[in-house]
Each structure stands twice: as structure tokens, then as C-alpha cells.
Amino acid sequence: MSTDQVRVVVTGLGATTPLGGDVASTWSALLAGRSGVRTLTEDWVDSVPVKFAAVAAVDPTEVLPRPEARRLDRAEQLALVAAREAWAHAGIEKVDPERLGVVVGSGIGGITTILSAYDTFKEKGWQRLSPFTVPMLMPNGPAGWIGIEIGARAGVHATVSACATGAESIGYAIEMIRSGRADVVVAGGTEAAIHPLNIGSFAAMRAMSTRNDDPQGASRPWDKGRDGFVLGEGAGIVVLESEEHARARGATIYAVAAGVGYSADAHHIAQPEPTGAGVMLAMRRALANAGLTGEDVKHVNAHATSTPAGDVVETVAIKEVIGGHPLVTATKSMTGHLLGGAGGIESVFTVLALHERTAPGTINVDDLDDGIEVDLVLGAPRELPGGRIAAINNSFGFGGHDVAVAFTTV
């Protein structure tokens, strides 16, 4: 576990998810094995074949002041709530603004703003559009607002790689610090896409579970009966910092953000490559980038979305690159799939798993699929071993993006 690069550490965590409005409530619900999925009651639900989703447990408009909330898209609201928690958690009192950055993306951007603004435009004309329509719909909006709030001038970026976005953002932030461009970077992902057009469109791909009679059992990664992902919303944000900067201010360090591996499938715009070659390459690169061996990795927060095609091949890739020994978990079984927010919250979970030496479980696996040869955490959480250990968060996205982020204990 050695590398001569600048060490990047995690000093702050923030999240607002279908399981809770902050990190503590989300994590305790996750360890308790609770599902954040619920039946939708909106009028439009009759127009789509999927009648449930993992809605944010705490509505961001209840947390944010009304004048602020009305000029933010919901994805921006969720990102700001999580970023404020992470920033407060890190407790940074003083940082050179030119050494402070933001990398926060979303998969789709301000989609609900786009659609409601178009309704306003058609019904009432352009004069009635909010002057904040553009900053609400642009996918870099969440990053921009967070950057303004904390005064980040080293660079504010928004990566976009569908469901790999949150992990890619964290990887980019690690590289920003390593390359010497920043000392502190706020990074993660956000998404707010629970809208009938999105549900209809994902359903048109046959990508979503339609288990309407059992919403809380619908997200069931690795179970033979899985029939698609469950749409979720929320945001997960981490504060990354050079170890030198963190030590100098006496910060609490929760984990080391040890490295990142990227690859691309170059195969199909939406289907996973069937041999897992791209996923293997991303994990191999993450290990190399972090100076780790497969033996060091004791836990993997898998991408595992509960779609028939992707779940098993990811475990094959884990076995090939890391081995059969790590405790592999699919937290999407409880949170649903937050798309661009997934890599954000799952990196938060991976950091907490290392910090608390506890791998969260996977719910709803009643009939394990064939061909899985890794140690899955099914049901209750399991303890991780002592000593210096590593964990990986995998995130993959439509477009063929594969990202693996490696963390280690301090």
C-alpha cells in the first residue's frame, strides 16, 4: 500500500437519500436493512407502468428557505443540502479560495425544471418563465451553487456519465488534488428525476422493475427474480482534502481516497459488455492507481442495480481482479438507484464501511442467481477485518462508462 503521490483523504460526508435526510439517519437505516422505496401517489402514476420509486426521505424544500428553494431545481436542492452537511462535517474554518474546488455532477440535470418550464411556456408564454430557468436546468447548476456558497475558485466542474457520474466526480476531485490544483475539493453526485417522462422512458427500455405489488421487494440485486432497477433520488457528497492540509488543521480523517480507475466498454450505449472486460479494467486501474493489490481489498460496494444483465457479470469481474474474498454488497437494494447520485452516496457508504469496519447488507435476495462466486453480504451487515484495509465503490453508466474508486482506512 504505497504510492509516492499526494495522499488524498476524506474529511467530510453529506447525504440526503431515500433512507434519511442526512448521513447518520441514512446509515442507520442502511444497517437496519430498511427499504427507501414507496408507492407513488401522484396523479400521473396511471400513465406509467411503474408505480413506485425511492423518493427522498426528507423533502429538500422543507429544509431550505423558501426563497432559495424556488430558484433551485430539485437536483440542486438535494445537492446543496448534502454539500452543506459535508462542509459542516469537515469543519474547515479557513481555506485559500484559489485552492478550493467543486466537482459535482448529475446524470440528467434539471429535467423536472425543463419539463415544467416547457409547460409554462406553452400555456402562458415566455414572459412567465422564471428568470432562473436556465441555471435550474443546466447540469452544472449544482456544482455552481455549491461553489458560490463555499467560495471555491480553484475550479468548479460537473462530470456527466449517467449512473457513473457521482463516482467519476470523486475520481476527478482526487486528481485535482493530486495534480496540485487544489487542497480541498467538495465532490459527489445528485439526481432528482422522479418524473413520468423519465419513468416512461426507462420503462420503454425495459430497464425498470414493474413489481408494483411489492415495491420494497423490487430492488433485488443478484436475486433470480430481479426485473429491473428502482428509480431513486438524492445526493451524496464528500469533502476531499490533501492529507497535508487535513493534518495541518487537525481534521478528523474518515478514510483515504486512495485512487480511481476509469474505463469504457466501447460495446453498447445501454447494455453492459457481457464479459465484464471494461469493469475489470476499471478495477485493475483503481488498484494500480491506489498502489493496492486485490488482497488488500476487503469490501466492494457493487454497482449492482437489480437489472438482469449487469449484476452477475460484475461479480465475475470482482472475482477475477480482486478475488473471491471481499465482502460484496448492493446498497441499491435499499436506496434504489440514484443514477448520477449513486456514486456519491455509495462512496459515502464505502467510507463509512471502512471507518466503522462494517459492510452493510443486501436485502431482498431470496433466491440467489447462479454463477456468483464472491462473498455477498446478504441480509444483516458484516464486520470488516482490522488492520489497514481497502474498499472499492463501483459505478457504471449508460454510454459504457466504468468507474472504480478505491478507499483505504487511515
Binding site: 428557505p65 426563497p67 432559495e68 422564471s130 428568470p131 432562473f132
Partner: protein
Amino acid sequence: MAMTEQEILAGIGKIINEITGIPAAEVTPEKSFVDDLDIDSLSMVEIAVAAQDEFGVEIPDDQLKNLKTVKDVIAFIQG
């Protein structure tokens, strides 16, 4: 039926509070939108649109930039 200055002021205070969070009581006639109330140009557009809905008076863009204070808006609405 013409509204009184007080009624218009109350209406403007309510709109500004809704859009910016500034307490309606702070919205007094002599206040400048930019210098005193710290309202940016995008929020001014929101306020103008809401005022048009509330008072039924169209505020053209070239007039809006001349409305510097709360008093200016009251005078414009009163015609």
C-alpha cells in the same frame, strides 16, 4: 377601483418576501432595490412578473430598469 399607496406597498412587500425572503416590513417606499434590499437583476424580473399578475399592470423591460426604488414601483402602478 384604484388601490391606495398603502395597499400597493403591502402587495409589493408580500411579493418581495415571497421571492427573496426579505421581511415585508423592511420594504418601505424609500428603499432602493439594489443598494438597500440587495436584490439582483434576475430577482427584479421575477418581482416585475409577479407585480404584473398582482396589480394587472404591464411593466415593459425598458421601464423596469428605471424603477430604482419601491416608491418608483408604487408610482408606476398608480399610473
